[in-house]
């Protein structure tokens, strides 16, 4: 009987010949990521009673959750982190001028196929787009890994999701993943590994694959995975010289479930308040008035996303009832968007270009909502209070849907509006 990707990589990382689903293994990760939460983790680390992290070279720390610091408290938090980084001689530190962790770890060459990456952030699942096994852990766990280089993981069962058909006009990877989450529910893949495959995935660019894996956690998944191919290898070739080994599920691997989708007739999808699995086709919610539109975050802040938005907005003006915020996911994305003239078009259409970072996604700063307001966002969560106000509503959609909706001041079907 063949093995799944999850079984193979967790066997490899735990030094075992083979493992079975449900087994608890002790693994040593290749990369451990933490962000603005690093100061809190450092305090826990010191409580363990040792002074030096075991493997500084495995640690990657980007600042992104509230950058630049919004208040004195945030500033003090960042200061503590910079001091810890110096003290521990951590080389892979990215200050506020770099971008969102899940964008810059791949950009800076820290994500390799066949690697095990753990991060103190639930959307660490993103790196599965490159064939890594990556998942979120808590703060105490990061502190403990810094001290011991070890952590326990349960070997997950794998759900394989085959996506076939042709991408309809106006439909994007975000619509596909929202549709899947709506179908399976917020716990539809709880504790499971999810492997995305099929013709649509093979044709999909890296950016779209990242969107799918990023949101796998919204259906409870432990990790998302896309088998690396020539697109992955090409993307990585300009980012890293490090050697890696691609790990794939065997042809006769035992999946817990195989779910088949044909997306040829899919409509653009919207996740409605206040849960990510409350998904409806755009036709059912079109006309809902919005106050703020947001394009960016680790889900949809890449150059491909900004391109789509600027093509829709070029030469037009957004509704005067809407504030459109653009958060490029990284400085690299920001620079490229600048060079391509994308930022100019977005600004002319009435958008506000923000600095790379998480922005208001978690309600910390830079565009929080007021009571009674509605935001249409490309982010990954719409929980009550998520953007700082529990009396506000958040809808989630693709960058194309958000861009076109900002023109009309209401949720709009992009299909009638694409050039």
């Amino acid at each position: 009987m063949g093995k799944t990707f999850a079984e193979k990589i967790l066997a490899l990382k735990s030094g075992k010949k083979s493992v079975v689903t449900g087994e608890i293994v002790t693994v040593s990760p290749d990369i451990v990521m933490s962000h603005d939460n690093t100061a809190a983790i450092a305090k826990k680390f010191k409580q363990i009673g040792i002074n030096k992290v075991k493997h500084p070279e495995k640690i990657v720390i980007p600042l992104d959750h509230c950058v630049p610091a919004a208040t004195e408290k945030y500033a003090a938090n960042h200061k503590e982190i910079r001091e810890f980084v110096q003290e521990q001689k951590i080389e892979n530190f990215y200050d506020i001028n770099t971008g969102v962790c899940h964008q810059i770890l791949p950009e800076k060459g820290h994500v390799l196929p066949g690697s095990l990456i753990l991060g103190a952030d639930s959307h660490t699942t993103t790196y599965g787009a490159f064939g890594a096994f990556s998942t979120g852990i808590g703060r105490s766990e990061v502190a403990s890994i810094w001290a011991t280089d070890e952590i326990w993981l349960r070997v997950p069962e794998t759900i394989k999701i085959n996506i076939e058909g042709n991408m309809p006009y106006g439909v994007y990877p975000k619509d596909i993943i929202l549709n899947i989450i709506g179908d399976l529910g917020a716990d539809g893949a709880l504790y499971r590994a999810v492997e995305f495959s099929g013709k649509v995935i093979r044709k999909m660019d890296i950016s779209g694959r990242m969107t799918l894996c990023n949101m796998a956690v919204e259906m409870g998944a432990k990790n998302g995975y896309v088998q690396p191919d020539e697109k992955t290898i090409e993307w990585l070739s300009s980012r890293t010289n490090k050697k890696y080994r691609v790990i794939k599920s065997d042809a006769d691997a035992k999946f817990e479930k195989i779910i088949n989708y044909d997306i040829s007739k899919l409509e653009p999808q919207i996740a409605c308040p206040h849960t990510v699995d409350n998904v409806r086709p755009v036709s059912k919610v079109a006309g809902t008035k919005i106050n703020q539109a947001l394009i960016g975050t680790c889900t949809n802040g890449r150059i491909e996303d900004l391109k789509i938005a600027s093509e829709i907005l070029k030469g037009k003006r957004i509704s005067n009832k809407v504030r459109l915020l653009i958060f490029p996911a990284s400085m690299e994305v920001y620079t490229e968007a600048m060079e391509l003239g994308i930022l100019r078009e977005l600004v002319r259409s009435g958008a506000v270009i923000m600095n790379p970072g998480c922005g208001p996604c978690l309600g910390a700063h830079e565009g929080a909502l007021a009571p009674g307001e509605v935001c249409l966002s490309t982010a990954n969560r719409n929980f009550k209070g998520r953007m700082g106000c529990k009396e506000a509503e958040i809808y989630l959609a693709s960058p194309a849907t958000v861009a076109v909706s900002s023109l009309y001041g209401e949720i709009t079907d992009v299909r009638g509006n694409l050039k």
Binding site: G49, Y74, D121, G138, S140, A143, S144, D187, G385, G388
Partner: protein
């Protein structure tokens, strides 16, 4: 180990943003202050009225969403003695154990417990007693139980490192 407490009952998919809002994640660092905001966006009465060893009973996927450990920390410091749910979100499950907060996964029990009643949980026997009867639940895996018994992951790691050093 056993506990007895009053039940606060909630539904499915109680997410980490309603347990501990994101806007506090970097501004509140004292666990006692975290406790004052526990379940703030779900039940504003909870933090004010919760008593030591009270028990949260909830539906499916408790703790879904963010990896923020404060979601477990704020409940622990609010006095919550245990959480009983039909299922737990993966990272929350880990965070709760790592904070020394016991969890019970038992769908049948959840369906038979009402808000406000007093229930008892015996972790050694794997039994939960409520008005409608006694329900069995499976014990936690041994390696996980060890973390809980040591009072959380940080004291557990501390202990293990000392053992390795032969102290």
């Amino acid at each position: 180990m056993s506990i007895k407490g009053k039940v606060w009952k909630y539904g499915d998919d109680v997410n980490t943003d309603v347990i501990f809002p994101g806007k506090y994640t970097y501004t509140i660092t004292d666990p006692k202050e975290m406790a004052l905001h526990a379940l703030e966006d779900l039940d504003s009465k909870f933090a004010k009225e919760v008593k030591k060893e009270d028990i949260i009973v909830a539906g499916r996927n408790f703790g879904c969403g963010s990896s923020r450990e404060q979601a477990a920390t704020c409940l622990k410091y609010a006095g919550v003695g245990a959480i009983v749910a039909k299922s737990f979100s993966r990272i929350f499950f880990r965070n709760a154990i790592n904070q020394g907060l016991p969890l019970v996964q038992c769908k049948e029990a959840v369906e038979n417990i009402s808000s406000g009643e007093a229930i008892a949980i015996d972790f050694e026997k794997g039994e939960l007693s409520c008005k409608k009867g006694v329900f069995k639940f499976p014990p936690l895996p041994e390696s996980v139980l060890g973390i809980l018994e040591d009072g959380g992951l940080i004291p557990h790691t501390k202990k293990i490192l000392k053992i390795e050093k032969g102290e």
